[in-house]
Subunit: 446 residues, 2 copies
């Protein structure tokens, strides 16, 4: 492919097979979210620049695609708009704009492209789909548990084979710092380092904690408690004396108890060493990991002040995000929802005098719910036209020439077996519907 | 709504009901296009600036949203990318990039937002959905007729009540200029003025033609032939002596004959006064008008050199575009595909000790294909919770307190009638599925 025809760096063209695979996955997601009572929200691709700037930290601001002012202002070189960077800032704006018009709690999902001027790389794009679900306006742990259940059902519905949900709470982490006597000013740094326990060895993490100024005995106690085979028990025991730790534990256990009807045992577990990096979380936090995939395929948590920080009203919130581009890579290529190929019924045309009849046959096939089109090339030869039918992946080819015209029939050729049936022209739709029903071509759902 | 929370000028936020209405329409469109064997194509939201610049004329270039360079280049005030302005230039790029990987002919549809920095106004947006279908690589009038049939079926499938397809050909127009002796150099201007016959009176059009330099007798002959009650016959007679005119007539009649199986008589008519303004059309041209809507709701035609002009390969093409934002305004608000409201089953919680059971009941309802969620507010009062269920548009509320727990049942309240049924807890999913099946709540499809 010559470079000048490539899509811009970090973006992709999706041809038919990929669009269909992606759309099937999106349909599963929408269906599960809807069954949970989440409703869709769509906001524009761009926002006013001041709505986005300063919301993603200094590094984030650099990754925002900015849109030049127009007309006489273009020469200024200034930007006034910017492409959506995530789905959360637009949610905060919508919550501020529509306030009481929204239901309470406001359970919404948003699925669509976001744009980040990141360095493109394997699996990292500048245009990618983000898929968020959030509940605004409820402080109840029920809302946290519901989001986790919906994410679980979505991943199961998509056919993701092996995944586990890691559950923790910001209160557990605060309790841990308290229980292990970590000085207050070291807390945030210690949590950032603990977050690396899934990548670095315990010794490496302990060393980094010491570098951060933690007493080496404390660092070793902490790391050893969090990585021991009986970590769950040791951490629970350590947390009990801390008021915040005990509250966090209670929160985690409530979520675990609420989701038992929906999530099979063993698929969700209390993971005290799991520290979501983002500082805005205030309660339960979780992430989903899958075999063979580094990092998480979904994550989320409670963020009771974020919407206000982002310019919205002061409402509690909890939610999560599906790493849909990663998840799509995990899904099996096979089991396409449609017969591979573009047509069910390919209609040949053996002379322009038969063109109108061919059109009518294609229309009859479509009435039977089948994908159908006529031959549009320049060859009048049946062999060439059947080759086209085969290239299209057609299940049947229709043949109609002088002989068929005189007999008032149409010849229906089964492209797999080569068998041909002669069908009265007026009964074609019924015949095809019957054949399609007998061995349903899933393409008919197209 | 305070201005600072509005979406950017010319763009819109879509809350749930609007998203659902739009998505239902998009699903109809995709389904019809797919039955005709058109396949989806998705390209990025932005292209390299040089791919877009110079493709839409000087006025068009001014309406392109340009994206500022990033990082160290941001200060230059220069743009290197630009938001998609239509679906045709990306199609030309894709045809150049993927060439032989694409089927022949390449029948594709593209549906998604495009962005134009137009002055926003009633029904005119800066972000709006464009929906195109095109066949590249066929010179056959079959391809033109197929596009028109697909557009017809789409509009019928969407429920657009009264629409008519106006059909003409660029060759007919050239033949007309020849037949009426319009000097060659006046041709393009004369066509632009004739295009106004749907807005201006015949006298006004004749006057404008004269201003353009046409002899006033010629101007009057031309306008009178095109607006006479027997215009069809008069134009056909006038065209016969012109070779190009006769060829155009033949083309129009071929399309009319091909579509008879699909399009009811009277819904498509030869309209010699119809002149699509765009200069790139080379063969059949058409537009769809609907009662009570100014302008067209869909239009298209053959453009055998456009793809090459836009930077693609030299392939013939024909296609059309649905004015989807206008069409959406035409569609009846009623007949929502789902029960209005967010939930089918609202689960009350009469005390935190019942929360896990409530979650399990909601899960059972979802297994029955119903939209379901639990109460997440702070009130423990049944009345308040039933009010919430009602606000959600729920069909049933589930009630489970001490009494139900002891009896191993759950109370199912019909929110319309107030009638209550007592159902064994283990049979809830079956019971709800049966109730939903008995009087299907379309929301279940959600």
């Amino acid at each position: 492919m010559p470079t000048q025809f490539d899509p811009p760096s970090g973006t992709r063209d999706f041809l038919a097979a990929e669009v269909e695979k992606r759309e099937r996955a999106f349909a599963v997601i929408r269906s599960v979210f809807s069954r949970y009572g989440f409703e869709p929200l769509q906001t524009p691709a761009f926002e006013r620049l001041d709505v986005l700037l300063g919301k993603y930290g200094e590094e984030g601001d650099k990754l925002i695609f900015k849109i030049l002012r127009r007309g006489e202002h273009e020469a200024s070189g200034e930007a006034d708009l910017a492409l959506r960077y995530d789905m959360t800032v637009p949610l905060a704006r919508v919550a501020a704009a529509y306030g009481s018009q929204l239901p309470t709690p406001y359970k919404r999902y948003a699925m669509g492209p976001v744009w980040r001027a990141d360095r493109p790389g394997r699996g990292r794009f500048r245009e990618f789909v983000q898929c968020d679900l959030d509940t605004l306006g409820s402080t109840s742990v029920l809302a946290d548990a519901e989001v986790i259940c919906a994410v679980h059902d979505t991943l199961a519905g998509l056919g993701v084979a092996d995944f586990r949900i890691l559950l923790n709470s910001r209160h557990v982490l605060a309790g841990l710092l308290e229980a292990f006597g970590v000085p207050g000013e070291l807390g945030p740094g210690v949590l950032i380092t603990l977050d690396k326990l899934d990548k670095l060895s315990p010794a490496e993490v302990a060393a980094e904690l010491t570098e951060r100024g933690l007493a080496s005995s404390t660092a070793e106690d902490l790391v050893s408690a969090m990585t021991a085979p009986d970590a769950d028990e040791r951490i629970r025991a350590a947390l009990k004396p801390s008021e915040e730790g005990a509250a966090g534990l209670e929160e985690v256990d409530q979520v675990l108890s609420l989701v038992t009807a929906q999530i099979p045992a063993g698929r969700i577990e209390f993971t005290p060493r799991m520290v979501r990096g983002l500082s805005y979380y205030t309660g339960p936090i979780w992430e989903v990991v899958a075999d063979g995939v580094p990092g998480s395929i979904s994550s989320g948590g409670r963020y009771d002040h974020l919407i206000e920080q982002l310019g919205g009203p002061d409402v509690p919130g909890t939610g999560g995000s599906l790493g849909i581009e990663r998840i799509l890579l995990l899904l099996p290529e096979g089991v396409p929802a449609g017969r591979p190929g573009r047509l069910d019924v390919a209609v040949t045309i053996l002379g322009q005098e038969f063109a109108a009849r061919a059109f009518a046959f294609a229309a009859a096939a479509r009435r039977a719910g089948l994908r159908s089109s006529v031959y549009m090339g320049s060859s009048g030869k049946l062999g060439r036209q059947l080759k086209w039918a085969s290239d299209q992946g057609a299940r049947w080819a229709l043949i109609y020439g002088r002989q068929e015209e005189e007999a008032g029939v149409v010849t229906v050729r089964d492209m797999d077996s080569g068998a041909q049936a002669v069908v009265p022209a007026g009964e074609l739709a019924d015949y095809l519907a019957g054949q399609a029903g007998a061995a349903p071509p899933p393409g008919a759902a197209g």
